[in-house]
């Protein structure tokens, strides 16, 4: 045989052949492409923002302090950390941010966790209704509850704004610490993320083998001891992942502290952005560092998690705790009332606000006379300066609003398509190459933006894309790119989870028959994993519809609906901001319902994923 002859090939040919073999597998090509894309989209903004912290910005504080108009210096760091206003500009907002993030986690886990326990492990009544309605605050925009809070508790005497419902109707004036600041922000964010805790913790409660608890019961262990020694340790992984997700999200939240008048890193950034651009960027870096710290804890907790997953098999029946005849109805009633305020009242309240003749004018509720309501906010079809409309047309005819609506839909669709597609591909490629280092790199780099505070990601892209070389500021392109980067994790997670459940042999049996890759995807893998892939598209879409923190800095007001809302709220057109909120909520609920009906996928299923 010519074996000995053919064995002599140049190392170049060998390398070339090996390269060809490597790229002949689609999952390898995807991984390499994604590694490049994700590295660029994740690290480029970080580098840009780091550079910005060192750069001297003409016309701002650093130029003033150094006396230069260009170049680099550490003056921003020195001034921010040691300057005379370090306390107001850095330490106080940082403290507020940390308290807010930690306490929001506590509220979310307590409220969501208790609810999860009640729904999955007790004989609570009205479970179906309650668990559907409980998800609402997460589906609705973050600031919804903040605005409801304001609509309820604002009073001219205390907060110096329009009168809220309580002040207007019953002349109840709550103290300032109740009306705005830290406490309401914590409650609002905690309530907003409680569904998160409910879905994650409830998932474990539901799958938990109750034999574990029964074994303890048989050993005559007291109930509280079973709870603290058996049950809680088992849900620890879910609690941990809730903490990590809620912590990151609430830390970067802009609208809630903004509406409730709390100074956090994100609101401070916007305040300082004009005159202290470089120092503001440092605030973003601080937020990112916190995000990276969370990522680190996430990795660690994921490692220790392995030991728990074996316990949560799907076996066993769940024995339910008996709440008693009265208890099961009473507790249900309490939750019905609570969820009414968090889920249904906002919609009613927003709708009602749009019919008030003037902000805070609740005379209708005193008189029940329809004369005291107005449809002018909706129906005015021409420019009028009186009636408190500031020259705006009614919402149904207002071009600004509908242009914003169009923009929001466009951005959401595009982000959902791009993030869903890329995320699905990442999930697919990672699941095929689980052992390789490249795969785990792509998996974690694609996940990083998820843990970065939205505002910080927005800032980073703002710095990266609005300079003299290339300026994408205020284009839909920029919004779509940022949205895609931020939402890929939603899709890649749900796709990875479902792909891992799919036996590799399903695809291999098609490979053997020489069926091309795209046909394997479209004819076999996608049809089988339809519902989880759809939720990979759905989650970015829904989240994008109501996103403010991420996009706020990247476009002018009126470009998309959420910034338009912010704009009208600052202007004092509260009816408009309430109305836009209503439009958003209705859009999201309708979309969720439609997709749920058509494909069986839904938002609440996706987060648990």
């Amino acid at each position: 045989m010519t074996l000995s002859n053919t064995k002599k090939v140049s190392s170049w040919t060998l390398f070339w052949n090996n390269l060809k073999t490597f790229f002949s597998k689609p999952q390898n090509t995807i991984l390499v492409v994604m590694a490049v894309i994700c590295t660029l989209t994740t690290f480029a903004p970080i580098v840009a923002i780091l550079e910005d912290t060192l750069k001297i910005h003409p016309g701002t504080i650093d130029a003033h302090l150094t006396g230069q108009t260009e170049g680099y210096s550490f003056v921003n760091y020195i001034d921010l950390f040691t300057g005379t206003v370090a306390k107001t500009n850095l330490w106080n907002p940082l403290l507020n941010t940390l308290i807010l993030a930690v306490m929001s986690c506590v509220v979310a886990i307590l409220y969501g966790g208790i609810f999860a326990f009640l729904v999955t492990r007790t004989n609570l009544r009205f479970k179906k209704y309650l668990s559907a309605i409980f998800i609402f605050p997460y589906i609705m925009p973050q600031w919804t509850l903040a605005m409801v809070w304001k609509n309820l508790f604002d009073s001219n005497a205390i907060t110096g704004t329009k009168d809220g419902l309580l002040a207007g109707l019953f002349n109840i004036h709550m103290p300032l610490w109740w009306c705005q600041g830290l406490l309401p922000s914590i409650l609002v964010l905690g309530l907003h993320y409680a569904p998160f805790a409910y879905i994650l913790i409830g998932g474990i409660f539901r799958n938990m083998d109750s034999n574990l608890e029964e074994a303890a019961t048989i050993l005559n262990t007291p109930k509280w001891k079973i709870m603290t020694r058996v049950t809680l340790p088992l849900v620890r992984p879910a609690i941990l992942s809730t903490i990590l997700l809620v912590f990151g999200s609430s830390m970067g939240s802009y609208p809630v502290p903004h509406f409730l008048n709390l100074t956090t890193l994100s609101t401070k950034y916007l305040e300082m952005n004009v005159s202290r651009a470089g120092e503001a960027s440092i605030l973003a870096v601080v937020m990112m560092l916190l995000g990276v710290a969370i990522m680190y804890f996430n990795q660690r907790s994921l490692k220790s998690r392995k030991s728990y997953t074996t316990v949560t098999g799907k076996s066993g029946q769940i024995s339910k705790v008996n709440l008693g005849k009265v208890g099961c109805i009473l507790i249900a009633a309490i939750f019905i009332i609570l969820t009414f305020f968090t889920s249904i009242f906002p919609i009613i309240s927003f709708a009602f606000e749009t019919f008030l003749p003037n902000p805070g004018d609740y005379s209708f509720l005193h008189t029940w006379n329809l004369e005291h309501l107005t449809t002018k906010w909706w129906l005015t079809s021409e420019n009028v300066t009186e009636n408190g409309m500031y020259g705006q047309k009614g919402m149904l005819f207002n071009e600004t609003i509908w242009r914003g609506f169009g923009g929001t839909m466009l951005v959401s669709f595009a982000c959902a398509l791009a993030a869903g597609l890329l995320g699905t591909l990442i999930g697919y490629a990672v699941s095929k190459n689980r052992r390789s280092k490249l795969a785990s790199y792509v998996n974690s780099i694609a996940f990083l933006p998820y843990l970065m505070p939205s505002v910080a990601v927005g800032i980073a892209f703002f710095v990266l894309f609005s300079n003299k070389y290339f300026n994408l500021y205020n284009t839909y392109w920029l919004l779509i790119i940022v949205g895609t980067v931020k939402y890929i994790p939603f899709a890649s997670r749900s796709s990875l989870n479902s792909m891992l459940q799919l036996s590799g042999e399903i695809e291999e049996s098609a490979i053997i028959q020489d069926i091309p890759w795209w046909k394997r995807m479209t004819k076999i893998i996608v049809p089988i994993q339809k519902s989880s892939i759809v939720s990979g598209f759905l989650l970015p879409f829904m989240t994008c519809l109501r996103e403010l923190s991420l996009f706020m800095l990247l476009c002018v007001q009126g470009y998309i609906l959420s910034t338009t809302l912010d704009y009208f709220d600052e202007m004092g057109l509260y009816a408009f901001s309430s109305g836009i909120n209503l439009i958003l909520i209705v859009t999201i609920l309708v979309c969720n319902a439609v997709v749920n009906k058509v494909t069986g996928a839904s938002l609440d299923k996706g987060i648990g994923g």
């Binding site: 090939v9 002949s24 052992r435 042999e505 049996s509 053997i512 069926i515 091309p516």
Partner: protein, 424 residues
């Protein structure tokens, strides 16, 4: 029709060798089973030939095409190797009907529609599933799914068919039925079948040759009856056959006339006559030479770049000598004069007189045969007696070892020295 040649194929993960320098030639139209305990590397071998797994090094040829060569950087992807693969859990596409499952690959080959229909109905008839064409996999029983998977594998007319434990998900009765059908299928299709199993009965009954692998290393590659009757080493002897072979420790030396004087069961004298003339010293020398060669090979490999020491080194096989009292058995370091005698259960016969005396320890009649466990001193021997004879437990019987297929192994190296007769 192709012949498959594996040359020095290795697959390792870190320092774990899944397949360790395997050389194998699979003849055209043969039915080869890869047999071994779970985790021994047999499925990995199969997947490497099919192209679903990439070997770390080595060379694989199918027919006259080199499909893999680590030194040339050749790696033909699985879809270009024109092979069929039958998966353990069938891997039917749940979103397609039976007809779509079978025809999907054909459509892709740009076959005209009539031809596709003809092919599908031909293979469907072959495995008797014509009536299920419109059903989805979930609506079929395990056996029917299995048939659909076979039909799907056969449809594109591959030259080689790989099967990865295809019967292990079926119940015992169906498994027997499918076994017979696979045998017929092999005859009717004239294709090369490579079949992975951990079930030695399946391997024995189906294969034209058995390739027995342990810990990534080829142990024996021979026709089934040779593997059964003339195993290369103690591991092979133990793995093949049910009930398992009896091992008896023996000590002794070779006499002038070539026979062996041995002490078995502690203190009973026995004489072992080789079937073929064997000189023990020559055998030992040859064995030592082989061992040295092997060591040199490893040492040479160790000098090569990228060599990783094998973590999962093979330990000497711990053969089971059945004892009443495990503690009483004397365990010593093996020397040159220690041997192990392998006695197949069916060669232990009960006779009226002569031989040695034993006591019936347990008796399990199935009607066709009776499996006896007979106690001799501290030791227990398993014997199979054909016919429905009943024995009382505790009954004393005389036994002898029949035939010239008694195996003599070296205890030091586990290897077979030779076959022969034994007289007590």
């Amino acid at each position: 029709m192709p012949k498959i040649v594996l040359t020095d194929v290795t697959k390792r993960w870190g320092n774990f060798y899944g397949v360790d320098h395997l050389d194998l030639v699979i003849d055209d139209c043969s039915f080869v089973t890869l047999l071994g305990p779970s985790g021994c590397g047999k499925t990995t071998t199969l997947r490497m030939i099919a192209g679903l797994e990439t070997p770390t090094s080595g060379r694989i040829e199918i027919g006259d095409q080199v499909v893999f060569d680590s030194e040339l950087g050749i790696n033909v992807p699985a879809n270009k190797r024109h092979v069929g693969f039958l998966f353990q859990n069938y891997a039917l596409w749940p979103n397609m009907t039976v007809y779509q499952n079978i025809s999907f690959g054909l459509k892709n080959m740009k076959m005209p529609k009539e031809e596709i229909e003809a092919t599908v109905s031909r293979v469907a008839k072959l495995v008797k599933i014509e009536q299920f064409m419109d059903r989805y996999p979930a609506e079929l029983s395990g056996g029917q799914q299995q048939r659909v998977a076979i039909a799907r594998t056969l449809a594109p007319d591959p030259e080689v068919i790989f099967m990865d434990e295809p019967l292990s998900n079926l119940d015992a009765k169906l498994r027997l039925e499918m076994r017979a059908e696979l045998q017929r299928l092999h005859l009717n299709t004239h294709k090369t079948f490579i079949y992975v199993t951990h079930d030695q009965m399946e391997a024995m009954t189906l294969a034209t040759r058995i390739c027995l692998i342990d810990n990534g290393v080829l142990q024996q590659y021979d026709p089934p009856l040779k593997v059964y009757g003339q195993p290369n080493n103690i591991f092979v002897a133990d793995f093949v056959g049910s009930p398992s072979i009896n091992f008896v420790d023996a000590n002794g030396t070779q006499n002038e006339d070539g026979s062996m004087s041995l002490k078995v069961f502690g203190d009973i004298d026995a004489k072992f006559d080789f079937k073929e003339q064997t000189d023990l010293n020559a055998w030992r020398e040859q064995e030592a030479a082989e061992e040295k060669q092997e060591e040199e090979k490893v040492a040479k490999l160790a000098t090569q770049k990228g060599y990783v020491e094998k973590k999962n080194v093979r330990e000497p096989f711990r053969y089971q000598v059945n004892c009443v009292d495990e503690e009483a058995r004397v365990k010593t370091e093996p020397t040159d004069d220690n041997f192990v005698i392998g006695i197949r259960p069916e060669t232990i016969k009960i006779c009226e007189s002569g031989g040695i005396q034993g006591e019936i320890y347990s008796a399990m009649p199935t009607g066709m045969e009776t499996t006896l466990r007979i106690r001799v001193g501290n030791f227990i021997l398993t014997s199979v007696i054909f016919g429905g004879i009943t024995y009382d437990i505790g009954q004393m019987v005389n036994i002898k070892f029949d035939g010239d297929g008694i195996m003599l192994f070296s205890r030091k190296s586990d290897k077979l020295i030779g076959l022969g007769t034994i007289s007590l």
